[in-house]
Symmetry: C2
Subunit: 319 residues, 2 copies
């Protein structure tokens, strides 16, 4: 190897995220790809060497500044935070993050939220504020039907973990899919039947033009009385006012929300004060540099070599 | 069979519980044991036919009223609610309830409580009251050490479920025990080492003279700063004031309590208003008549026939 001399240095990677740690990612990636340039944006000047971008929510117009960009890699499972850039450079391949740790965290969040509603900790928290002791016979998870919308990597894993912990699980997806141990439905025509048989609705759909505002009053009306909503996907899937109406009418019994139309959730938003809503600050899942780096490094190598990416995104479908 | 004529009717069962459904238990037991008399107490007169008692927290002095009692069967996993009767008839065998559903419910409660602390839902609930959005990078369950005290049927199952859901699990018991996938400690001399390495302490010990008041300031001091307590066992294991002191000093970060010295928890008890304590009304687990009945029916048959009971209790050890 040494005889051929030092290979020409690979290009540089541009890192942009206000949530992830640039130093940890630098450590993981430069150790795997010797010579990789590593630059933290946004707003670099003189950046012709940037060939790959690893990003969470880059500012609109940012990515078009890099003329030699060969790939855009998401730091999240979703890519709506990239695709919503109206000036996104066309034709640059995009890949999502598939990180076993991110998947594990998401399923854990979903399981916790489902268990919390199922075992009525939400009710007992409200009772505690009134110092009310009210015994309830503990319910059977096998009779609690959890319906998972979206059966990609995240939805399929969440469904499996919910089933492993005793819930009656079913799934719905845009296109037909099978998952072990759970009945599946697909497409708009089977949505109502799926919802009719769902006591805890878990949304793990990507945000696309087709899913924006999907969680609306018609969806809630199709759920049985007393059902719950868990949304750790994207805030724009939900019509906030419709959820509040469904909760206030008593049709829905509670909601666990991790994502919102605007984040941080504005202080005057009614979700903050709603007794049946639990707000968490977009913490359901995150990419861990240690666990995601092997796959990201492979995609960086592929991008630099002009080869097809793993986990590519179809910009038309939005996921 | 018919040739021998109708067998003599078996004796009667006495049912006592203010939490369980006498009709459901009657249905399950009389369908399994034809001819079984079924009487609901306490306070029966003329009860010489009672040969078996199926009880939760019978009033003190109650069980000595039945001169032909051959067995006392608990409606719960613990038997302290029977053994604390100072006039308990001596020499009558006692059995605990081993119900796969009760075990499942208990492990589910423990998993939920551990996940809720681990994923900081307790923190986010407090933040929500202040409308505070504070992002925290999601923590890794593999680095959260859950220590289970008590490795009987319930403790062993809880440890397995916690491990299956990604936690780092270890166990402690009075006598040496092994459980799959978890390091175990035993006896008073290894208690401190166990506690030093426990971030979430789960108490599934029986209440006995040896365990009363075990969860005290020395135990809390041996836990790492920021640890949590989960107690779904019995309230009398805990020294309430020591827990409050450990929480208020900031050494412990939170507690989930299902059981209390007095139940219902008195309205003036400080746990109700403590921001780091979640109070649930003794709902962690219960015997389901449908799932527990086969084992209870077998013990009723054994008692009527004078044979040894399943899951017998050693009154000296208290479990």
């Amino acid at each position: 190897m040494g005889r051929r001399g030092k290979p020409s240095a690979p290009g540089a990677l541009l890192f942009i995220s206000h949530l992830d740690d640039p130093a940890a990612w630098k450590r993981e990636l430069t150790s795997r790809i010797p010579g990789l340039g590593y630059r933290v944006g946004p707003g670099l000047t003189d950046a012709d060497d940037v060939e790959v971008a690893l990003v969470w929510a880059p500012p609109p117009g940012e990515l078009k500044r890099y003329p030699n960009l060969k790939a855009i890699l998401s730091l999240g499972a979703g890519v709506d935070h990239i695709l919503n850039d109206p000036e996104l450079p066309r034709g640059v391949p995009i890949a999502r993050l598939v990180d076993p740790m991110l998947t594990r965290l998401m399923s854990e969040y979903v399981l916790l939220a489902a268990l919390r509603h199922h075992r009525e900790f939400d009710v007992f928290e409200r009772h505690q504020r009134r110092r009310l002791w009210e015994y309830r016979f503990p319910p059977d998870a096998a009779r609690r039907r959890v319906g998972v919308m979206g059966l990609g990597v995240l939805g399929a894993d969440a469904a499996a973990k919910l089933a492993a912990n005793g819930f009656a699980v079913q799934g719905w997806s845009r296109r037909p899919k099978r998952i072990a141990g759970a009945r599946t439905y697909h497409g708009p025509r089977q949505l109502e039947r799926f919802l009719n048989a769902t006591d805890v609705l878990v949304c793990l759909l990507p945000l696309t033009p087709a899913t924006r505002g999907l969680l609306d009053r018609r969806v809630f009306a199709a759920l049985p009385k007393g059902a719950f909503l868990v949304n750790p996907s994207r805030g724009a899937l939900l019509v906030d006012d419709d959820l509040i109406e469904a909760l206030d009418s008593g049709h829905l019994a509670g909601a666990t929300l991790d994502v919102f139309h605007r984040e941080p959730l504005p202080r005057d938003h009614p979700f903050w004060r709603h007794p049946k809503v639990l707000v968490t600050p977009h913490i359901a899942a995150a990419g861990y540099p240690e666990t995601a780096a092997p796959q990201v490094a492979e995609n960086v190598r592929r991008a630099l070599a002009g080869r097809p990416l793993l986990h590519p995104v179809d910009p038309e479908a939005g996921y």
